[in-house]
Symmetry: C2
Subunit: 352 residues, 2 copies
């Protein structure tokens, strides 16, 4: 698919390493859950219902101003590799990449906006940007939502708000989240205490790929648990407060590492560089670990000459589907490990 | 001590990586155990007896032609650091470096010859060279032994041969050994089988620093167990036979790695290089491991531009006493790890 090959050679805006607090806040994301009136929700819908939703959204994509720069994809019409590729870029969920019957995707080239069609809800609208930019992201998504709501009759009840497949999403239908990089809290073994506090404040912590995924590479996605009975502004302000507190803790942990454990920290960072620039075979979990430590080294000025954007990009392009699209063919696990190591060496050599 | 500072900047002949089979046989060594007639052996000798032996040997060192290029050291008169330094260079045993009362050392600048005075026996004469050179080494030590025997009345009984503190050394008083580097046998998990065979053939296996030391860095010292009732020639010929067999096994294991496991082998070698050239703190055991893998990489032509002699030398100069002599002061363990990592980076950068 030509458009996906284009993506392969670009970096999503949310990985640029810019925006407020971008040393720790990789990206900010708002996701809206929306459903059509008088149409069974996806889990109960017939194929005809789903087909109708898909066509309606395809029409919307072609006509709505806020979607004028977007692309429409029928998930059934692309290869399994391309679906995995979209998942690796965080444009679709894992579920959306595996079960694809009558599913669709609308997204823009900057990868700041995507709409999954017929996932858990009829519409899952997502906007994302790098850094702590939750309010900017909200402006974008709000505009899209407003426009779509004029064309599409949303399932909505005055007392509750938007109706969703899962009651935890009902109300505003909003999930706002930030992807945080917290290596120093992990290294100083303070992370669990911080995450307990986050849970007490009714925020959820998830891994790199959302619900049910592990906190690989010291990435933690923090999002609101409650979307019912609170306003959008409350959700965003609360999130902002929590993110600032976590960032404060991470900065303190970094300060501790830089003062009391500097030699050992530098050792860890340079060892990561040594392995990333020398290994001939590198599995994906190991890669995430080393890139995470390298990113910390770049943030703290231990490593100069390698940009945060490059490191962020390496997290993405060393994933299995990316490696296979770059190579233009299916690869075995060992071939992936080999190609991953080659790409890391090549890109980090350029970047040094 | 000026002479020891000179040694610090030179590499012992036995580490030059030359001589027959030097890909696998680091060095060949012959050690003779000799004692004076009518003088209690060191463990039972009075201080006066020991003093007498020490003085006799000092005189011998000053007058005998075969010792004309040697240095005499009173072990009591050098610092604990210098004693450890001599042990790290394999010029004295661990015991000789710790318990030093009335002990002496005679050695030459090339470090091919050394005589420990009042170790387990009155005289422990050692000759060593790089590669499989057991017969050349024997010629050297034999000449020294002949000359000393004319001046010093050795404890000798026609039926038994030379008398020694421990009966296992009696007879010829010879221990002949080769230091082997067997990384491929370790990697392919064949080493135990090979060492079992070695034991059956009545040869002993020891670690890097002789009796009671571990097989660190994949180095194994193979020596004859029996010195009684066999001739010198038999000992050397038997050793030569065993060494050739072990080398054959190691070469087969290397061949297997280079054919069936090439990618994984290259990965291990380059990871070792990456860590050796990047780490900021490196403990001694880890260093031995990485240098061992690097040496294999150099032997197999995976790494070019780094010479075997440099790698061999790094094994020696990254030891604690060497690091402290290079730095000119006592170092804590963490300081040693830091300096070890610095020296490795510096020397391997030069060598690449």
């Amino acid at each position: 698919m030509e458009i996906l090959d284009e993506l392969l050679n670009s970096t999503g805006e949310w990985l640029k390493g810019r925006g407020e607090m971008s040393d720790i806040v990789i990206s900010s994301r708002v996701r809206l859950a929306r459903n059509l009136q008088q149409t069974p929700f996806p889990s109960r819908a017939t194929l005809e219902d789903r087909e109708m939703v898909l066509e309606l959204l395809h029409k919307a994509q072609a006509t709505q101003g806020s979607l004028s720069e977007t692309i429409f994809l029928d998930m059934e019409k692309i290869t399994a590799l391309d679906r995995q590729f979209l998942m690796e870029r965080h444009l679709v969920s894992q579920e959306h990449s595996v079960f694809v019957k009558k599913k669709g995707l609308i997204f823009n080239r900057e990868e700041t906006l995507s709409i999954m069609i017929n996932e858990e809800d009829h519409l899952r609208i997502q906007a994302i940007r790098s850094g702590f930019t939750i309010f900017e992201v909200w402006d974008v998504i709000n505009k899209v939502d407003d426009e779509l709501s004029r064309m599409i009759p949303y399932a909505f009840m005055p007392d509750i708000g938007y109706l969703t497949s899962c009651p935890t999403n009902a109300g505003t239908g909003i999930r706002a989240s930030c992807m945080l990089h917290l290596p120093a809290l992990v290294m100083t073994k303070r992370i669990n205490k911080v995450l307990e506090l986050v849970a007490k404040l009714a925020f959820a912590t998830r891994g790199l790929f959302g619900e049910g995924t592990q906190a690989l590479g010291n990435f933690f996605q923090i999002s609101n648990q409650v979307s019912l009975g609170v306003s959008e502004t409350e959700i965003f302000n609360n999130l902002a407060g929590v993110i600032k507190q976590i960032r404060e803790q991470e900065l303190q942990a970094r300060e501790l590492l830089m003062t009391k454990y500097k030699m050992s920290l530098e050792d860890s960072v340079y060892r990561a560089v040594g392995l990333l620039t020398h290994a001939r075979l590198m599995a994906s979990t190991e890669t995430l670990h080393h890139l995470s430590v390298l990113r910390l080294g770049v943030d703290l000025g231990i490593i100069t000459g390698i940009k945060t954007e490059l490191v962020n990009n390496l997290f993405i392009i060393t994933q299995p589907a990316h490696l296979q699209k770059i190579k233009g063919k299916r690869l075995t696990e060992e071939e992936r490990d080999y190609n991953r190591a080659s790409i890391l060496r090549e890109k980090l050599k350029e970047g040094q």
